[in-house]
């Protein structure tokens, strides 16, 4: 077993510097690497480019980094529900690249899988395709989209072991698996770090080869963005 376990979040994030490109897992606030994000705030690294489906909310998730002006550029598919984000974007303080959601994940996966680029039909005929190579296959038009290049990927899983194997829970899986192994260094934080050998190899979603560092998060707030319930009859 190759040991990926580090003592804590500080050790896990050694080497993160100003102006780096970071991938950050999660969809909305679901499945975000809370401990890594909070530590980025503490480290006060600046000029970051963040690849993440969303940008958090005003006072949680990546919104915390935006608030401290630590992010230079966001690469996302949807950035609503965040007033500070909208203000910085409209005033030009923040650079934003909006990418169709399926393209965003596939550009991560291309980096993970050794593909320099992929062809997708998403965005053909729209401003997303401007300046990009277009090619026809079987009578349909496709846009060439390049693999991301990132320094660190921060992902969050439910359970993991020191070998770096990961299991996700519910819809907290989302972008996390495609970001594993898509950057130079992948840091996985888990709710529960279990002894090596206790995870069933049949049930592992991401094998440890894609993960360089793993730690158990100190705590998880797991904030709900839109609480919707029904009354019991």
């Amino acid at each position: 077993m190759i040991n990926k376990k580090v003592a804590n979040v500080s050790e896990a994030m050694e080497g993160v510097k100003d102006d780096m490109t970071l991938m950050v897992g999660g969809f909305g606030l679901c499945g975000i690497p809370e401990n890594a994000i909070n530590n980025l705030v503490k480290m006060n690294v600046k000029g970051l480019t963040c690849i993440s489906n969303n940008a958090g909310v005003d006072d949680f998730g990546l919104g915390l980094l935006l608030h401290k002006r630590q992010i230079k550029k966001m690469i996302s598919s949807y950035v609503g529900e965040n007033d500070e984000f909208e203000r910085q974007m409209l005033s030009g303080e923040l650079e934003v690249e909006l990418v169709p959601q399926g393209t965003l994940v596939e550009r991560c996966r291309a980096a993970q899988s050794g593909f320099p680029a992929i062809f997708t039909p998403a965005g053909y005929g729209t401003e997303v395709a401007e300046g990009k190579e277009i090619r026809e296959f079987n009578g349909k038009m496709y846009v060439l989209e390049r693999a991301f290049e990132a320094d660190f990927a921060f992902v969050k899983a439910w359970k993991g072991d020191a070998a770096g194997n990961l299991i996700f829970k519910g819809t907290a899986r989302n972008f996390n698996p495609a970001m594993c192994g898509s950057a130079k260094i992948t840091v996985a934080e888990v709710e529960e770090l279990v002894p090596v050998g206790s995870l069933d190899p049949n049930q592992i979603h991401i094998p440890g080869i894609f993960v360089q560092r793993i730690f158990q998060g100190e705590k998880y707030e797991k904030r709900i963005e839109q609480l919707t319930v029904r009354k019991k009859a």
């Binding site: 969809f27 909305g28 606030l29 679901c30 499945g31 489906n53 996302s76 598919s77 949807y78 950035v79 609503g80 529900e81 909208e86 974007m89 409209l90 934003v96 909006l98 169709p100 959601q101 399926g102 393209t103 965003l104 994940v105 596939e106 991560c108 996966r109 997708t120 039909p121 998403a122 965005g123 053909y124 005929g125 729209t126 401003e127 997303v128 439910w158 996700f168 829970k169 519910g170 819809t171 907290a172 899986r173 989302n174 972008f175 996390n176 698996p177 495609a178 979603h205 797991k222 904030r223 709900i224 963005e225 839109q226 609480l227 919707t228 319930v229 029904r230 009354k231 019991k232």
Partner: protein, 217 residues
């Protein structure tokens, strides 16, 4: 004239037995409430769940279980979870049978705009561009006119496009229309709405062929 629930009820009739369906945010989400209960349908949400169920009971919500609108949900027996890549394989690979989404504008050529108002609203396209680029069967749910009373069914979209030539059918508060090579073909009228009313509210080419029946909800 229909309200939002009326539009959802009419669209629910387009959902057939054995369909996998992706519902967008807004009116489309309501469609799930009105699908016949004697047919089998599975709802997909692009953040990674197939077999979505209703909202959880109070106190039973799970932060790790949401839909693409970030609302807490439940799953039904037979449901599955997957990552975003596999989710868009279902969409791009045309495994999802029906996509229902909202729009700000639709053109008579089937172009759709629903993600950006330059200088005003830039929230992003989310999964909409992937959905419209690939789905074989797209129904748009929207009001026939905007708040200023201007038609949303146009010759050409004025807002930045989400996709080109992709919309097949539109259900509005006034009518059901099919996008054809010659323009918007009027299929049904909403209760109490005349063909004249629909003509007045439609800027793009409207095709009225014979007697137009009233919708049955």
């Amino acid at each position: 004239m229909l309200d939002k629930i009326g539009i959802a009820k009419r669209i629910a009739k387009e959902v057939k037995d054995g369909y996998y369906v992706n519902l967008g945010i807004g009116i489309p989400t309501l469609v799930a409430n009105y699908v016949r209960d004697d047919i089998e349908v599975e709802f997909q949400s692009e953040n990674g769940v197939l077999g979505m169920g209703p909202f959880p009971y109070e106190g039973e919500e799970d932060a790790d279980l949401i839909n693409a609108g970030k609302q807490t949900i439940t799953t039904l027996p037979g449901a599955s979870f997957f990552d975003s890549s596999l989710s868009f394989s279902m969409i791009r690979g045309q495994h999802v049978d029906l996509t229902i989404l909202g729009a700000m504008e639709v053109s008579e050529e089937g172009d759709i705009a629903n993600w950006k108002i330059p200088g005003k609203m830039v929230k992003g396209m989310g999964g909409a561009m992937d959905l419209v680029a690939s789905a074989q069967n797209i129904i748009v749910a929207m009001m026939h006119t905007n708040k200023a009373g201007e038609s949303k069914l146009l010759k050409k979209c004025s807002l930045p496009l989400t996709g080109v030539g992709c919309v097949k059918k539109i259900v509005t508060n006034l009518a059901v229309l099919e996008v054809t090579e010659d323009g918007f073909k009027l299929l049904e009228r909403a209760p109490g709405i005349s063909v004249e009313d629909i003509k007045k509210a439609t800027e793009g080419q409207l095709i009225v062929d014979g007697e137009i029946p009233e919708m049955v909800l």
